[in-house]
Symmetry: D2
Subunit: 389 residues, 4 copies
């Protein structure tokens, strides 16, 4: 063992939770305040407003003191009724889990099969929606950025498919690993519920999750028959008017959210997205430089927040283990169908060029030490991309 594993900062390069900025951690460590007092109200109003631009929305955003899986459940229970049909796409592990949740909650799921190397297929969506003349499909569920594969679905084209079929189904989008990292526009793209979590592009610890809600979704919630209480939008939206919450909010994570939103605003969202794109490009340059393959097959669907490296003959877990043991870096494992066949590099959140260089250097060294044949020029290919202004 190299001895390096016990010193210096851990490289947390899974695709979330991401490296939380020091100043966000310090903001979170402020004393908890009375969630019914005037100081809290000011905090509540501030973050409820400041979070909107990140979603690309002027409509309400609900904040849950819960992890992202909860916000998945909230999106479904607030808008749908037992037995409703939803259309989903097998883009990977998380898309699979979300539709399993839908089934468990009493919905009927049509799950369009996929190869886990592409995003949701707009063509298939359009065909299925056009065929649904009875409008039995009540919602279309799309994972914007599939965290298990590094493939970003083209949400605007799914929207176009709904529009082309003149279909009234709601569009529900999971942006858990894209929000704050990859360009996203809740309003412009006509999304009805956007689901997000705190621990990825928002640079917070896990524990907060979000629903951005269109007017159409709000209307749907008035008749949606799935039982709900904790997740119910209505009392939350009512209390939010004055900056409060119907039950105790995760106050300290809201401090962290305020700080992180300030950081995103200081950098500028356009710069944030460009930075993620740039780091994704440099990562793919390294992968190709090593002579390896990126899992995503369609370049229009390359993810800006993570890259999955394709090892079809297995061995990805051994690479990750070597890297964790020898270089103190955590990478994402292959999940579901992809167990041991990919490892995933997160390059999202609070991140910069030199941390990416360290990350890619660690991957290269780990591949070598794990006995994977790679061209050592990979790292230089990344540097060349990063040397560009």
């Amino acid at each position: 063992m190299s001895g390096t594993t016990t010193t210096g900062r851990h490289f947390l390069q899974i695709p979330g939770p991401t490296n939380v900025p020091d100043r966000v951690l310090r903001a979170m460590a402020a004393p908890t305040i009375d969630h019914r007092g005037p100081e809290f109200a000011a905090l509540g109003l501030e973050v409820l407003q400041a979070v909107k631009p990140v979603f690309g929305t002027a409509q309400p955003v609900v904040i849950y003191p819960a992890s992202g899986t909860g916000a998945w459940e909230a999106a479904l229970t607030n808008t749908l009724s037992p037995g409703d049909t939803v259309l989903a796409f097998e883009t990977g592990h998380f898309a699979t889990l979300w539709q399993e949740m839908a089934t468990r909650l009493g919905l009927r799921v049509e799950f369009v099969p996929g190869d886990w190397r592409h995003g949701a297929d707009p063509q298939a969506a359009q065909e299925r929606l056009a065929a649904d003349t009875a409008h039995e499909i009540k919602a279309v569920m799309v994972v914007h950025n599939e965290t298990s594969t590094g493939v970003t679905s083209r949400v605007p084209e799914i929207r176009a498919a709904l529009d082309a079929a003149d279909h009234p189904a709601l569009l529900l989008v999971d942006t858990i690993s894209s929000l704050g990292s990859i360009d996203y526009r809740h309003d412009e793209w006509g999304v009805d519920v956007t689901v997000a979590g705190s621990q990825k592009g928002l640079m917070l610890p896990p524990g907060l999750s979000f629903n951005a809600i269109s007017e159409k979704a709000l209307q749907a919630s008035k008749t949606a028959g799935l039982p709900r209480s904790f997740w119910d939008w209505q009392p939350i939206l009512a209390a939010n008017e004055r900056g409060f919450f119907p039950y105790t909010p995760a106050t300290n994570l809201l401090y962290a959210l305020r700080e992180a939103l300030q950081m995103l605003d200081d950098e500028g969202l356009a710069n944030v997205y460009a930075r993620h794109t740039r780091h994704a490009e440099a990562t793919r340059a390294a992968v190709r430089g090593w002579g390896l393959e990126v899992l995503a097959l369609d370049e229009r669907e390359y993810s800006g927040s993570l890259t999955a490296i394709w090892m079809p003959d297995g061995g990805a877990d051994a690479v990750r283990e070597v890297i964790l043991r020898e270089y103190d870096m955590s990478l994402g494992a292959g999940l579901g169908k992809l167990v041991d066949k990919v490892f995933r590099i997160g390059h999202l959140g609070h991140f910069n060029d030199l941390t990416l260089v360290g990350t890619l250097g660690g991957v290269q060294m780990g591949l070598v030490r794990a006995g994977v044949k790679v061209d050592p020029n990979g790292i230089q290919a990344a540097l060349e991309r990063l040397q560009q202004a």
Copy 2:
């Protein structure tokens, strides 16, 4: 204005969230780690074990990345089916909210009326249970310490009522404002699901909640028909075996939990409970010294974690406002039926004699400044109690 509102530490003397210890805040501010890695597994196993003594249980405790209201929902959805009857007691605002949730989730609630100055009535429970020879009542819901009134229900006597009636209903107990403050014994008292939150006696920020689960409750969950996914015990218990969680846990709050459990263990739970009892006694001594009345009427039901002061002619909110403005102390408002008729002093969590003296001094000065007639000997009565060894 006194100018004091802008300096020194705020006195957060609501009955939760409580004053989070500095060392817990610092523990929480450690960098977030990979929730799938070996370091996390060790953390998970440690806290899942260490939390049990606080519940007085050797059975599993589920930890949710959510606030206490979520754990209420979890207790119901994991054990009950649509249309099931539950028996609840109107002990105050939170008991009322919990049974409203039950109704909203599709349960049938029998709500035993109460005067908000007593706990759940064991006699009424026994009569109702004895009458239910068909065993239509599937669960009995009790709030151990009613945060809105400062009344602690005698859970062992409710258990005895179930036993006397030989009734198979589950016993579900909310300990949100008692756990870690008032003696509580999940196993010994035969409770089936104990609901708790992080932000009171556990001395954490809000954002974690708990279900301690009896074997009988676990069995019930196998046939319980309420839809559930996020709250479902089974995948959580399965993942917990190795220290993991089925979805992203609130990692940094788990750091805080580890630290707070260490503090409770260092002090010793018996000492923790005795301390709360002592502070509650000193507080009541002050209340009586001022010539005022405690809301709780039955001395067997005095709360160790908070004291509500009864102002039947109103004016409690004005007192709180003066105290917040002039002495930078937050107190609890009257809720529901008690709006403006009580204010509540939280004396739980990370707390000591001198902070209590400051708290009671602030209440006395605030009462005077708000024009309430009080005997200024109140503070001395508290000191006399605290002077005792």
Copy 3:
């Protein structure tokens, strides 16, 4: 033992170090930066400017990465030459230590005797200075607020004594336990070197100290013959022009200083001073209420930052021990001639009414438990003072 010693916040009521505000501690915990880079320069320029109002000066203030004792040495070595005579006043323990340092550094000290219950005597000063027609006295050393006694010397009257005698001696003033707590005016009062530390009214941890420097002192430093290097003003002032320091500064304490200065500015220095005065008055009301005596004899010299309680027959240490053990509060011990004959209550820095009430309640209970005969009305006398707007 009461069990309270292991929980809640410690009451640090010594007359410094004082209770450091949470936000100052968090500011201090930001990552250390390059002390030669542009971000540091901005920090340096900001604090060097922002610290001036607290001294009441528009002239340079030198910041040392050292404790206050170092700033004592700096004041002497930068302005005086071996064998020079200085005039000092025996106001207490720290005045005694400072003149001992002067002797050790090779100066000749005239030490005007005192009873440790009064400040520096302006009358004696004037007589001695008038008699010194040869101007052998090169500097007059005054401790503004004697931390060992709670007596505040009347610096303007010492200045007047110098002026009346038309004497050119420098006026060196120690404000270690007054700066940021008690009204002080370096420029208006014609002080030549003001010595200060970080850990009292400035609300920082120990580790920074200060010299505010008049033009006359700067001129003196050009010919002052005491050897000096680390303490030498000249290279510091030169580097400070651009926000830098000649050797590595205590960067993280400068973060803390920036935050604390912001807090003082937010409260307003006039409010800060009034708050300290008010708390000192309430403390003396309690002392008298108990039937005890304040050490300071001249009401013009009562300290706003601490109060020493006079127990001429001894026993003060036993009181402090009981209070530390039973109520987890640290008080200041009697020092030098006053060992066991006083204990000192610090009521300075980040402090407010309710913390003072807790402090005084703790003192009252401790006195009772230590067997000192006191009237329990003391606490109420303090509350009465604090009830006033």
Copy 4:
């Protein structure tokens, strides 16, 4: 501009202050305690003992609440008298500053000239000492690791020179940028005073400094005639017996010290030194890979804690500026004679392989962007070294 400068962690790769570990920053943020109380005494005794192994000593180590420059002054004023002769070696900027301080304090300095690319010359030392038959030289001053050049002097050979000449001069060694990074043995090497600071290998913020003291140095202090008070060892050593200090210590930095010493002990000093050697080797591999030159000329004197890169035709400052602006990394500038002719990479303290890779990648990219001709294989050469077990 790349936009990367506003996100992610800054790379602080100057040769100190170094990257302070998060856990040290959090330890430092604990509330300040009474420096005269029992809790402090335990802290004091603990750190005074735990710091000794890092110096390789069983003799006393004095801790100053001051920066390293102060400890330089302490080493001189405690052991020497006005007019005493000291022998020093021109190894670089800091050696030059230290002997300037000696002159300023009234000592006579013999300064052996050097080329700033070698350490102190043992041969020259031996010759000069042998010639000093009158033993006019009272102390030999050596900078162990010259921070301005990345050259480590061979202290044992200087000791041997003293021994060979049978010369009684004290051996004073500055280990400011080597302690805790490069193998060092105060006792074994017969050093009399070792000077150190907190902000390099000890991984703390600046603000503490140290003197490790031999018995011979202690004896010398009894007759040493330079005036001293703040720096005087005697009252410090006396108070240290019970864990206290004669004046207010930098309490929060002592918390940090306790934490950092624990980290060094956990890693093991031998591992710490080996890690630094390994990172220095990888850095030199990169430098040579780029086709550039390391400033240090003698491979026995390569520094484990920093590497200076030699750009004899200038331009080093432009490289640093590009790197700071484009890659948010701080590097050390050339100092004194080396202005603009070197830049220095710090690879010491809390550091690991991947952070080094990021650092070297940033240097490579910065060199390219600054227009310096380099072979891009440099980074791979470093990876090859780090790939080795």
